[in-house]
């Protein structure tokens, strides 16, 4: 059922209200946790029986669990709001509402979408799901409509580039994706086989809890060159230390003596596994050579 503007707005408002409520709840729980932890600290300094100690710990653990739960709920709501908005956008586009987006605004959007990508925080013992951080998608995964992907498209001079694109639809019979360059100035729409489409991560990995879900240092990857919408071959230079930090990568650049440029920051969302192509689609990397969308 198509989402009307009013409907969408209403749903969003509902959730905003929920979030507000949840925030208050979170704070209450947080305070309670804090009190208990303070008590625990004091108890540790004085010599109390082990059993009592254990019960204190248990209480704190419970508080933490409850708090975590509430926070997750709040984040879930936020996520829902985003998906509603996204749906609206897609619908608007399909309805033919093509608003021209300036380059600056486009880049901003790209940046924001990376920053607000949901963060995955694993529970103890939980495994990091695919399409979170460096974890690749399953082989039979099909990107959803509206998902961002890296697509290998042919340029005007027969060169191939990996560009940032959005999935329009998946053609089951042909096993092909219908993708569109996010830079709508191009008004490029491509139909590509599954091999030429790499879905971008749907979640960020939290370095504090799931550092293993990040690309290790010196891995060869494909990364979105800053201020462009093209992916180029690069090497991981530095990992993000917190959930909001970016990778630092070294793009290939023949104008530098060692073949690689200075480290540049790239968000987790735009760092994907390196896929070599026959025509080395990552040719012309770095050094200001901009994508076909330039």
């Amino acid at each position: 059922m198509p989402l009307t503007a009013e409907n969408a707005a209403q749903q969003i408002q509902e959730r905003l209200k929920d979030i507000q409520r949840l925030i208050h709840q979170i704070d209450d729980e947080r305070r309670r946790s804090e009190t208990n932890i303070n008590g625990l600290t004091r108890a540790q300094q004085s010599n109390i029986p082990v059993q009592k100690m254990k019960s204190l710990y248990k209480a704190c653990l419970q508080d933490a669990a409850v708090e975590e739960d509430t926070i997750r709920k709040a984040l879930e709501k936020i996520h829902e709001i985003r998906s509603i908005r996204n749906e609206r956008r897609i619908q608007a586009r399909n309805a033919g509402n093509k608003e021209a987006i300036r380059r600056g605004a486009l880049m901003k959007m790209v940046q924001i979408s990376a920053q607000t990508l949901p963060l995955f925080v694993s529970k103890p013992g939980e495994k990091v799901p695919p399409l979170c951080g460096a974890i690749p998608a399953e082989s039979n995964y099909i990107a959803k409509v509206g998902d961002n992907v890296a697509a290998l498209v042919k340029g005007v001079e027969e060169e191939e580039n990996w560009i940032l694109a959005e999935v329009v639809s998946f053609l089951h019979r042909q096993n092909k994706y219908d993708v569109i360059d996010i830079d709508e100035e191009q008004k490029d729409r491509h139909v590509l086989s599954k091999r030429k489409v790499i879905p971008l991560p749907l979640m960020r990995a939290n370095p504090e809890t799931d550092g293993h879900a990040l690309f290790p240092k010196d891995t060869v990857v494909m990364a979105l060159y800053p201020q462009t919408t093209c992916f180029y071959k690069a090497i991981i230079h530095r990992l993000p230390q917190t959930a909001t930090e970016d990778y630092e990568v070294l793009f290939e650049d023949s104008s530098y003596s060692n073949g690689y440029a200075e480290p540049l920051p790239v968000a987790q969302r735009y760092v994907i596994v390196y896929k070599s192509t026959k025509k080395s689609g990552s040719s012309g990397g770095g050094s200001g050579s901009v994508s076909s969308s330039a």
Partner: protein
């Protein structure tokens, strides 16, 4: 929005990456990640702002992104806290169940120091000042139950202290298999230098008189002549064999052969002939005799050709086996002919006709030459050896003298040390030194000096190596 974006990009107080904490913090132990209430405005501004509005209100839509980030931060903190607490709980549980096990690994959890430390450290300072009394009592227990700190935790790690303990156990050889319950690992006994010095010791020991005696014995070898002098050339082996054969035959034919030396000569003609033959071959054929006889013969040649012919035939038969007619003559000749060569030689030398130097050394043959050569080599080597031994002997005697001096010096050193100790004691008692003691000291030091000088002089002698 821009402002909040900026704040997002800047490393916020709580999220500064600093995995290594300063030592002071690590020592205090357990860190539970937590964003305290008083830090909220700084770390979670939007969140705090939202809190200021009532719960029934709507969250501002533009705050959505920021709230998301802040909530994620909270979530991360909670998740880490949960892990930390869980670990702690399990450890206490384990300790409780197994009281023998020392939990030195577990309770020391290191928290990452972050910028948040600044706001929290005054907090902890405050709390610690309040708990100072308790701190003192709990100092004993500090390694086990350390003070909790509220900071944002990056990784749950064992403290360097615990790690060091673990690592030190790992590095020690031989303890690894013994399990981690060994209190203090014994470092492996390193024996190699001892073995080395033991092996070298025989070569470095001080010399003794026994060594001198050994050298003397060795030298004796070279004193006498190395090989006995080369004997004269004995009778040709054919002669000896012939003689032996005759003996055997005679013994075989005549059982009383032992007593018959004389009649042996007058034995059968055949025997005589054989004997004569052998003797003739031996005695008469010396070159000097030949020359003499030939010279004499030639003279007679002129006077009496018939005699010459007869004599020629006679002389020509010298080297051949004589006939029976000859046998008589040869026999009579023989009696005079034994050693004739030598007698002729002697006469000639005495007469002054010939000189010893004219005679080529007819003792020469290959074996003789070979023997002479070898003897020459041996004597050269022997000389070299005996020289070396002599030098060694000299050096050894020197060394022994030197050792003696050294021993005396050591004794003096000991005495000086004793005296010094006594002097110190006396000084400690603040008593002046008695004159006898002073005398003693001077004497000892003077002696030490002389001995030392003597040693110096002796050490100047170097053993020359070829």
């Amino acid at each position: 929005m821009a402002k909040s974006m900026k704040s997002m990009k800047m490393p916020m107080g709580g999220q500064q990456t600093n995995p290594v904490s300063p030592d002071t913090e690590s020592a205090s132990g357990l860190v539970i990640p937590m964003i305290k209430t008083k830090d909220c405005p700084k770390q979670l501004p939007i969140y705090t702002a939202a809190l200021s509005k009532p719960a029934e209100d709507y969250l501002a839509a533009e705050d959505l992104d920021n709230i998301q980030l802040e909530l994620e931060k909270l979530l991360s903190s909670v998740a880490l806290r949960y892990r930390v607490l869980k670990l702690e709980y399990e450890n206490i549980d384990k300790d409780d169940k197994n009281k023998d096990k020392k939990s030195k690994h577990s309770l020391q959890l290191l928290g990452a120091q972050t910028g948040e430390k600044q706001p929290t450290s005054p907090a902890t300072a405050m709390t610690s000042s309040g708990k100072r009394k308790r701190d003192e009592t709990s100092l004993v227990r500090k390694p086990k139950h350390a003070t909790l700190k509220h900071t944002k935790n990056l990784h749950n790690k064992n403290s360097p202290l615990a790690q060091q303990t673990d690592d030190s156990m790992d590095c020690v050889p031989g303890v690894h298999g013994a399990g981690r319950d060994v209190q203090k690992p014994i470092p492996a006994k390193i024996d190699t230098p001892n073995k080395f010095w033991l092996s070298v010791e025989p070569y470095c020991m001080p010399l003794t008189n026994e060594d001198l005696r050994l050298l003397d014995d060795l030298m004796e070898q070279y004193n006498g002549p190395l090989v006995p002098p080369i004997p004269e050339l004995g009778p040709h082996y054919s002669t000896i064999w012939a003689a032996e054969d005759m003996k055997e035959i005679q013994q075989a034919s005549n059982p009383n052969a032992n007593n018959r030396l004389k009649p042996q000569n007058n034995g059968g003609v055949g025997d005589m002939l054989k004997k004569a033959d052998s003797i003739v071959d031996e005695c008469v054929t010396g070159p000097l005799t030949q020359r003499l006889v030939s010279a004499l013969m030639e003279e007679q040649l002129i006077t009496n050709p018939a005699d010459v012919v007869a004599d020629n035939s006679n002389s020509s038969s010298e080297n051949t086996h004589s006939s029976a007619a000859m046998s008589f003559r040869s026999l009579s000749m023989l009696r005079n002919c034994i050693g004739i060569e030598k007698r002729v030689k002697k006469e000639l030398i005495e007469q002054g006709i010939l000189d010893i130097s004219d005679f080529p050394n007819n003792d020469e043959d290959e074996i003789h030459a070979e023997i002479k050569r070898l003897v020459g080599e041996l004597s050269a080597i022997a000389e070299h050896n005996s020289n070396a031994l002599k030098r060694l002997h000299e050096a050894a005697t020197e060394e022994i003298k030197r050792l003696e001096v050294k021993r005396k010096l050591d004794a003096i050193d000991q005495e000086i040390l004793e005296t010094y100790k006594r002097t110190l004691q006396t000084k400690a008692k603040r008593k002046p030194l008695s004159p006898e003691e002073q005398q003693e000291i001077y004497r000892l030091t003077a002696e030490q000096k002389t001995l030392s000088d003597q040693l110096e002089r002796m050490q100047a002698h170097q053993f020359p190596m070829e």
